[in-house]
């Protein structure tokens, strides 16, 4: 997608615009000067990316093959860390909780976001203002969202359980109850991301050709029929984007869990990234932590690739 847009062009004298080998016929001195100019433009970002992303990524792979407590010498253990992790019940549980989070969160934000996008795409007065309100949580930090929801969902003095009690419902223990800790996190996360999904789907809705709807209406198609036969298929690229992004971010869920429940109670909401964090900074097992983080990366990579492979079946690029 992106590469096809590159237009190789040059303005240096002696080369045609559109030619991709600019330097062939130039004197060596000018070629050097040109290379230096390219370097000046590129290195300010290339060096940090190499030093703080790509380098560490490779170094983490190396660390994952060792036993290491961050201070002493590294001890080579081969694939032992990985072998341990795939059979370790705590790791399996962390992955299970992470998947639980995604399975609860994704349908909630997608259906909610779609409903909002459809509602706020129709001609309502003040819709820009309403969109603005729905988007507010998106600019709020996860830590604040988690804190605020921990307060709202406080089992004894929280306002949500108070409102429930007014209508005669005895509210659950929310984050203090192992059965409700993950639903609490999912609820807060969906509240924060709803506006984000709405904006992406709104952008998608606006690219749909209105003639399609008129033609369908002439054919007597009702509201539901138009949604299923026109809107959803035409919206599939945006839907695809929301799902890919939600899965990538969902597997990396951490901030809200750390603040809302700390992984508890009884480890009922412990997720993979928290396990990476604790292995590193609480238990001093940097090798194991690196192996787990690489495992997580591989899972995300496979899940993303599968989606890109599977999109031919349902994503409709007009």
């Amino acid at each position: 997608m992106a590469l096809s847009a590159i237009r190789p062009q040059t303005l240096e004298s002696g080369s045609r615009p559109g030619g991709s080998r600019p330097a062939r016929k130039r004197p060596a001195k000018r070629r050097l000067a040109y290379a230096a100019t390219v370097a000046v433009f590129l290195l300010p970002s290339l060096i940090p990316l190499l030093a703080f992303v790509i380098g560490p990524m490779i170094s983490a792979a190396w660390t994952s093959l060792h036993e290491w407590n961050l201070i002493g010498d590294m001890k080579w253990v081969g694939l032992d860390n990985y072998r341990f992790l795939v059979t370790d019940p705590a790791t399996q549980q962390a992955f299970l909780h992470t998947v639980y989070y995604i399975v609860g969160y994704l349908p909630l934000v997608y259906v909610g976001g779609l409903g909002l996008a459809l509602a706020l795409n129709s001609k309502l007065k003040g819709r820009a203002f309403l969109r603005g309100i729905y988007f507010l949580p998106v600019v709020t930090s996860w830590v604040v969202v988690a804190l605020v929801w921990r307060w709202l969902l406080n089992p004894s003095v929280g306002v949500v359980n108070y409102v429930l009690s007014v209508v005669g419902i005895h509210g659950p223990g929310w984050w203090s109850d192992p059965a409700w800790s993950m639903p609490s996190i999912i609820l807060a996360s969906a509240w924060k991301d709803l506006g984000f999904v709405m904006v992406i789907l709104l952008a998608g809705l606006q690219t749909i050709n209105q003639d399609l709807y008129e033609a369908a209406e002439i054919d007597g198609a009702g509201w539901w029929r138009r949604l299923v036969s026109i809107t959803l298929p035409m919206l599939s690229p945006s839907t695809f984007f929301v799902i890919v992004l939600s899965l990538i971010n969902g597997f990396q869920v951490f901030d809200q869990v750390y603040v809302m429940t700390g992984g508890g109670p009884n480890n009922s909401s412990r997720v993979v990234v928290q396990q990476v964090y604790d292995l590193t900074f609480r238990y001093g097992q940097a090798g194991m932590a690196s192996a787990l983080s690489w495992l997580l990366f591989l899972v995300i990579l496979v899940v993303t690739l599968v989606q890109f492979y599977g999109q031919k079946k349902w994503v409709n690029y007009a």
């Binding site: 303005l11 000046v40 590129l42 290339l46 703080f52 170094s59 830590v143 604040v144 904006v199 990538i248």
Partner: protein, 271 residues
């Protein structure tokens, strides 16, 4: 949606929805001016004795002014660096042909897919060996280049008519002058989008500052808030005061830059 009754129901639904969405913010503000709010079992929408005491407590107990300054310095410096490094690389990718350009651009894109968690251990070790634990520089360095920014700005520069560069080049301008005098002024909206996103992300980021800034005097707002919760886990008036303080700058930014934020989100969705 032609029937008036249908429209009224729709209106009602989105307005009730908006009230539900905004309520947590309203409740945060109310709690923050109701000292002792944690103790009452019947919450009140209008506090009995509203006061700013929770804010005073907040600034009294935690070096909160210092924390705000830390957050500001880190977010502003990171954002400035991101703007400069991204714009320069974007220009090279859009306007300067060189061998291996496609491959290097692909490398940039690939860095967007690496989850940050994989980098925790090696980055921490790297920063430790550089002596940058508990320093602004340690918090800032990993964020000074942004592949997302390069991508965004390269797309924007791609829309600048090529004839403009050409005219300038005929007048004897080199790449630096074309970059500064022609291209940059024309991609100002994209620069604004990147600035807002860069600021938003660094201001709100949690995991890396949590790891690198261990000294309470060096912490950023999200980290300070989370440790505040550890110490005063039941003093909700103080905790909510802290939340209000950290939300306000973002809301102000949002009001002024809403257009750029929404464009940025919608734009990434279309890719």
């Amino acid at each position: 949606m032609r029937k008036p009754a249908g429209k009224a129901v729709l209106y009602l639904a989105v307005i009730v929805g908006a009230l539900v969405m905004i309520f947590p913010f309203v409740w945060t503000v109310i709690t923050s001016i109701s000292p002792g709010a944690s103790l009452t079992t019947t919450p009140k929408l209008i506090p009995d004795n509203p006061s700013l005491a929770p804010y005073l407590q907040l600034f009294d107990r935690v070096p909160f002014a210092q924390v705000i300054v830390n957050s500001l310095i880190i977010a502003v410096v990171s954002t400035l660096f991101q703007l400069v490094t991204s714009a320069m690389a974007a220009y090279a990718f859009a306007r300067m042909p060189f061998r291996g350009r496609g491959a290097i651009f692909l490398l940039y894109l690939a860095t967007m897919m690496i989850p940050f968690q994989v980098l925790i251990v090696p980055l921490f070790v790297e920063m430790k060996s550089l002596g940058l634990i508990n320093t602004y520089l340690g918090a800032i360095l990993p964020t000074i280049a942004s592949a997302f920014g390069v991508f965004l700005l390269r797309q924007a520069i791609g829309t600048v008519p090529y004839e403009l560069d050409q005219a300038a080049t005929l007048d004897g301008a080199g790449h630096f002058r074309v970059f500064f005098q022609i291209v940059l002024p024309l991609v100002r909206p994209a620069l604004a989008t990147l600035a807002v996103f860069g600021f938003l992300n660094t201001w709100n980021s949690f995991l890396w500052p949590l790891i690198i800034l261990r000294d309470p005097l060096m912490q950023t707002l999200p980290v300070a808030l989370s440790s505040l919760q550890g110490q005063y886990s039941t003093q909700w008036d103080v905790l909510m005061a802290g939340s209000v303080v950290s939300i306000l700058p973002m809301f102000a930014l949002y009001v002024f830059a809403q257009k750029y934020i929404v464009q940025g989100v919608a734009g990434t969705g279309l890719k």
